[in-house]
């Protein structure tokens, strides 16, 4: 191999901390995952207990309002996980309540709402944030799912995000123009709520979304919660509908209403009263009380849905899902 005297100039570099980039280490971890079609059904409590560890970098798909893994997020609060680093892409309220609960102390920002509690956590040093955007974060995750250590992006440059990120501005190796690169991201754990899955984790998702598939393929541990369990025979009858293959999945949690209070399109509408309540709590610095009322007061989400929400209300939310076109196979 000829040694060349050529170089690419690094024109500028962000100074933000970032999850260590180690694509070969990620491959080693993937190498240890179970390849067998072993049933992976378990409760939310067991899945979070086994697959979310203190200190993990955590990502979740969609959000507390729209087809997100709301039950799994509440279970993290219930189990008092600590020192999590959150991938804050398009997450509305969840980062705020995970910070309030003491679970999250670092976050990469795309979009999340705060309220006074979150600002205070930042000012008091209890929460450290690095600055990206939604699409830059999903690009970082996609690069992780491609087995890479970095990827070029055509944004972020020139902003104040840049110095507070791990981006670099380099000479483009082919055009010579300045261009931005960001590190790939391989989260420790991904939480994803899906419409249908078999007991091994072959999963179907219907409708638009954020980066469900990339998050599954980029993460070391993958926990899926699903509205419905379907037979593997059903999966095999239409392989084009499978978004996530079983071999990426560590746990399958059968969790109807697992996106509550959010909407799960094709199944149920969001509970707008509850959504209003969590927004209000966030804006008035009352997230602690919100969490006590909806998480702390119950042993499980099943109990919360049964006693706190009630069957009549859940049936009403199901009735409000009236535009199911395209959300069912």
């Amino acid at each position: 191999m000829a040694t060349s005297e050529r170089y690419l100039r690094i024109l500028d570099e962000g100074r933000g901390d970032y999850l260590k980039v180690d694509p070969d280490g990620f491959r080693d971890r993937v190498g240890t995952k179970n390849r067998a079609m072993t049933p992976k059904l378990m409760t939310a409590a067991e899945a979070v207990s086994r697959f979310v560890a203190d200190g993990d970098y955590i990502t979740w798909e969609c959000n507390y309002l729209q087809r997100g893994p709301s039950t799994l997020l509440r279970e993290i609060v219930r189990q008092k996980k600590r020192r999590l680093w959150a991938c804050g892409k398009f997450t509305w309220v969840a980062v705020a309540f995970l910070v309030e609960a003491g679970c999250v102390d670092r976050a990469d920002m795309g979009f999340f709402m705060g309220g006074p509690g979150l600002s205070r956590a930042v000012l008091e040093g209890r929460l450290k944030i690095w600055e990206y955007s939604n699409v830059v974060m999903t690009n970082r995750v996609r690069a992780g799912a491609m087995g890479l250590s970095f990827v070029q992006i055509r944004s972020l440059g020139g902003t104040t995000n840049f110095p507070h990120s791990a981006a670099k501005l380099i000479e483009d190796p082919y055009t010579g123009e300045p261009t931005v690169i960001v590190p790939a991201l391989n989260p420790d754990v991904a939480l994803i709520h899906v419409h249908q899955a078999d007991i091994y984790g072959n999963a179907r998702i219907f409708g638009a979304g954020i980066s469900d598939v990339d998050s599954a393929m980029a993460s070391k541990k993958v926990v899926i919660s699903t509205e419905q369990i379907i037979d593997t025979e059903d999966i095999r009858h239409n392989p084009g509908l499978t978004k996530i293959p079983f071999y990426a999945v560590d746990a399958v949690v059968h969790q109807p209403f697992g996106a509550y209070p959010g909407e799960c399109p094709g199944h149920y509408a969001s509970d707008s009263e509850h959504v209003g309540e969590v927004f209000t709590a966030m804006n008035r610095d009352k997230l602690g009380a919100y969490l006590q009322k909806w998480v702390g007061a119950y042993e499980s989400d099943e109990e919360m849905l049964e006693k706190g929400v009630g069957r009549a209300r859940l049936a009403e939310l199901e009735r409000r899902s009236t535009r199911k076109e395209g959300f069912r196979p």
Binding site: C62, L65, Q66, R67, G88, K89, F90, M109, G110, F111, F112, M113, G114, P116, L118, S119, V122, L123, I129, E131, S133, N134, V135, V136, T138, N139, R142, R154, S155, L156, G157, G158, T159, T160, N161, F162, L169, E177, P178, V180, G207, A208, G209, I210, S211, V213, D214, E263, P265, G266, A269, S270, V275, F279, S321, T322, R323, K324, G326, F327
Partner: protein
């Protein structure tokens, strides 16, 4: 400071159907802002709109009235929907109603890629704080990161602002919103305004903010200096008042466009199908009424 602008092409078509349509008898300032943005939307162009608020209302209203084939996408990857209205203000993505009758459902990276290669002609964004070069802050108010308060972050706006060919910015007309320098550039405008500043930062060429629409006025950016320039004002405010409610002095075009007030049809559809609870209109700004043959801003 007046800019010698000579014969600038008008930003709003001089023959728009709103010119001759019956005017609303009264309206909210934010309804005025949505109407102006609506009229800037062109048929047969692709729009990437911030998921909610003025940007989405404007494109929905434009599709109902003036630009039925203006296609819009949202950052969850919904392409060309024909949504079920009204939308719950926070349920504007992923959910059933905003997804309805779309041409395609993809993902955030999917739509990000469509934008990166140039399929998204115009972005429409909200700005919490904006500077003379159209840089937007939606991250932090105060001295980052030690004093002040955290806000929501750029979301998808950084990508929209970086990559759409043109960007329409919507903001409330307030002194604290128009600042000489934003506390934090969350999404890029013309950066320091110097020629090629965006390209030197790695952003695609031929992009940048196009106009700023407020509840009182319409701005664009002067070609060479990239500084914000007043181009039009509402009939219920004066230039002095517009300028007084900004913390920097924009350029002012020689001739200002008179921005027509909302038509009856615009506010009727907006109220019936979009902002049905008045939640958006009531949140900020006041009410405009016709008194003694003049449009007057009632006390907010």
């Amino acid at each position: 400071m007046t800019s010698k602008t000579g014969s600038l092409a008008p930003l709003l078509p001089a023959d728009g159907p709103w010119k001759t349509a019956p005017k609303a008898t009264s309206f909210a300032e934010r309804e005025f802002q949505v109407s102006i943005t609506t009229r800037l939307i062109e048929d047969q162009k692709n729009y990437w709109v911030a998921a909610g608020g003025g940007p989405m209302y404007s494109v929905l209203l434009a599709r109902r009235l003036y630009a039925p084939n203006a296609l819009y996408v949202t950052e969850d990857g919904i392409v060309g929907a024909d949504p079920v209205l009204p939308l719950d203000p926070v349920m504007t993505v992923v959910a059933e109603k905003p997804s309805y009758r779309a041409l395609q459902w993809t993902t955030m990276n999917g739509i990000g890629d469509h934008c990166a290669v140039g399929y998204m002609d115009v972005g429409i964004l909200n700005a919490l704080q904006i500077d003379p070069y159209g840089n937007i802050n939606s991250t932090w108010v105060g001295e980052y990161p030690t004093k002040g308060r955290r806000v929501n972050g750029p979301g998808g706006a950084d990508t929209i602002a970086a990559q759409c060919r043109r960007v329409i910015l919507m903001t409330d007309h307030q002194k604290r919103k128009f600042v000489p320098a934003v506390d934090f550039i969350s999404s890029p405008g013309f950066l320091d305004g110097s020629p090629g500043a965006r390209e030197r930062a790695g952003l695609p060429r031929g992009t940048g903010p196009w106009v700023v629409v407020t509840n009182w006025a319409l701005f664009d950016f002067e070609e060479k200096t990239h500084r914000m320039r007043l181009r039009g004002i509402a009939p219920f405010v004066t230039v002095d008042r517009v300028l007084a409610e900004m913390s920097f002095e924009p350029l002012v075009a020689d001739t200002l466009e008179n921005l027509d007030v909302p038509t009856e049809q615009e506010v009727n559809i907006f109220r019936a199908e979009m902002d049905t609870g008045g939640q958006y209109s009531d949140a900020r700004g006041g009410w405009v009424v016709r008194e003694e043959n003049r449009w007057k801003l009632a006390a907010a």
